[in-house]
Symmetry: C2
Subunit: 330 residues, 2 copies
């Protein structure tokens, strides 16, 4: 059980005309500042404000219509929730979403506004899987997993397919790519597509510094979990450990991980506002933050960075706008 580039191509065919195809953005001033060429894939512009629509829509699209009509269920910190909720709405199917009670208000409200039923749980004391299984049994619902499911990974991989196509159109061969990593559905699919198109490319996961499960798991060759006491504002990617399927992909496709602080994520949100005119959320901007903070050196090279989402409360975005200028990476 794994995902092939053909699975990603099939997902791309299902998503054609349904998903937004964000262009690669480029800023002459960011290039000057970093001393290289930075291409940004802004999945915050995707329907529902994150890449998650791709995997959810691909999954529902491939479901048996009678099963789909009974309804789907998902557990999610918010972006997967919205992706599943809108996909279900487009197929006329009911959606039940299990969300942590401390998810951003905007994400809870938006999910409900797509017509889904929202069920809340405590991220630190309750087991969301147990809750979900009870609801599935009671209601005959089909689970759409947030990352550890082939159809979801294939859908997210279409981001990588588009990056490869857009790089080819621009005549660019990127030296490396940076992508946010939570459970790994996005970076799993993206890395498969990018490695297929550019065999020499290095694909690095970016994470909050205290949620460096990908970095540590890749370094050690086995999945490890983060300290349960860890906290971060990067709510979209606060998974304790890489997924099983996604790690099997990632151990073959990924290079070393990089961790960023919450402050570096906020500063990158501000720079994305100033230089790219996109709204990025903390968890969505960690890969960009890895470059802008100087933790990863661009000098003389070309990199592709995925900004994976933009579902951020106005109050937190104000904090980013209030950030003073960071010292630039020399």
């Amino acid at each position: 059980m794994t995902v092939s580039v053909d699975d990603i191509r099939a997902a791309a065919a299902r998503l054609r005309g349904r998903a937004i195809r964000p262009p690669l953005l480029e800023s002459a001033r960011l290039n000057d500042r970093l001393g290289g060429r930075l291409l940004v894939k802004p999945e915050c512009l995707q329907r529902t404000g994150s890449f998650k629509f791709r995997g959810a829509y691909n999954t529902l699209s491939a479901m048996d219509p009678a099963v789909r009509a009974r309804g789907v269920i998902a557990y999610s910190s918010g972006n997967h929730a919205q992706g599943v909720a809108l996909s279900a709405k487009l197929f006329g199917a009911p959606a039940t979403i299990i969300m942590p009670h401390d998810a951003p208000e905007l994400k809870k409200r938006n999910t409900a506004e797509y017509g889904a039923e929202v069920v809340l749980y405590d991220r630190y004391s309750e087991n969301r899987e147990a809750l979900g299984e009870r609801l599935m049994a009671d209601r005959g619902l089909t689970l759409v997993k947030p990352y550890d499911q082939e159809s979801v990974i294939a859908g997210q991989g279409t981001v990588g397919l588009e990056i490869a196509e857009q790089c080819a159109e621009a005549g660019v061969t990127p030296d490396f790519a940076l992508c946010p990593a939570g459970g790994g559905g996005l970076i799993g699919g993206v890395s498969l597509a990018l490695k297929d198109a550019f065999p020499q490319i290095a694909v690095h996961p970016a994470e909050p510094a205290d949620f460096d499960d990908w970095g540590r798991s890749l370094a050690g060759g086995v999945r490890v979990a983060v300290d349960p006491s860890a906290r971060s504002i990067c709510d979209a990617i606060l998974t304790p450990t890489p997924g099983e399927i996604t790690f099997e992909i990632g151990r073959r496709t990924l290079s070393a991980g990089v961790g960023v602080s919450d402050e570096e994520a906020l500063a990158a949100m501000r720079d994305a506002f100033l230089e790219l005119k996109i709204v990025a959320e903390p968890g969505g901007v960690v890969a960009l933050a890895a470059l802008l903070s100087g933790r990863v050196e661009l000098s003389g090279r070309t990199a592709v960075v995925v900004v994976s989402g933009g579902n951020v409360d106005p109050a937190l975005f104000r904090r980013a706008l209030d950030m003073t200028e960071m010292p630039s990476a020399a």
Copy 2:
């Protein structure tokens, strides 16, 4: 002397691989709220943060290389300035930019950072054209006008060509389009391309309510000027009167104008943040504001709206984030 759709196609060929091609964005929740289908062309994502790069690059691209090498000059509230400055930088030519002293700090700084020399003047007491002509004579520079120049209008028109192509790809025939109007370079070119692709489409200029020179000029059939005491936060489109060439185009292609208040522009900036994840500036968002404020009814129809720029100071963006919810148009 006017602009043809072939001129716009030629501009598109020059811009290929140089300009960003923003996708049409769509929000299921905005569609629900407005009761129709809204497609947004986000030119805030364009290089330099506005559509102005297109007209400037097309103009420099068509210049005699020896003349171009002596340098170009532009007067602009900021977005045209950045478009000319980056285009000149890409061609290795010097750029001199005349800017109003009260232009947003961000625009002044960004223009200088593209390598241009910035010369400031007083928007309400000095004649920028006289100042520009003196500098042209002294330095042998070539003027790149902000709107009333065929090559500039043709470049901006590529926005309309892309909208038409993207609508065709999506199988959509828009009922009407709304576009911000300052001097009219953008809406002039866009309306030519859209009318060519969709002969039945109505194209409406959107303006600040007190800078309704397009609305009044179209209603009366002759160019009229706004009250010189008018003020607005929509700095990008505060022209006193439509351009000559652009009005000759607009009188053939445009339908009635619509004016919006500064508060409606701020509310639309907030909604663009929440629902589309784009950063829009006040003057860039007036067409979206015309719909979201309920001044233009979408109900049951499909509209394309151009968001023309995103170069806004963080302080003003904070004001938009602080806006309370507007009563929705019933």
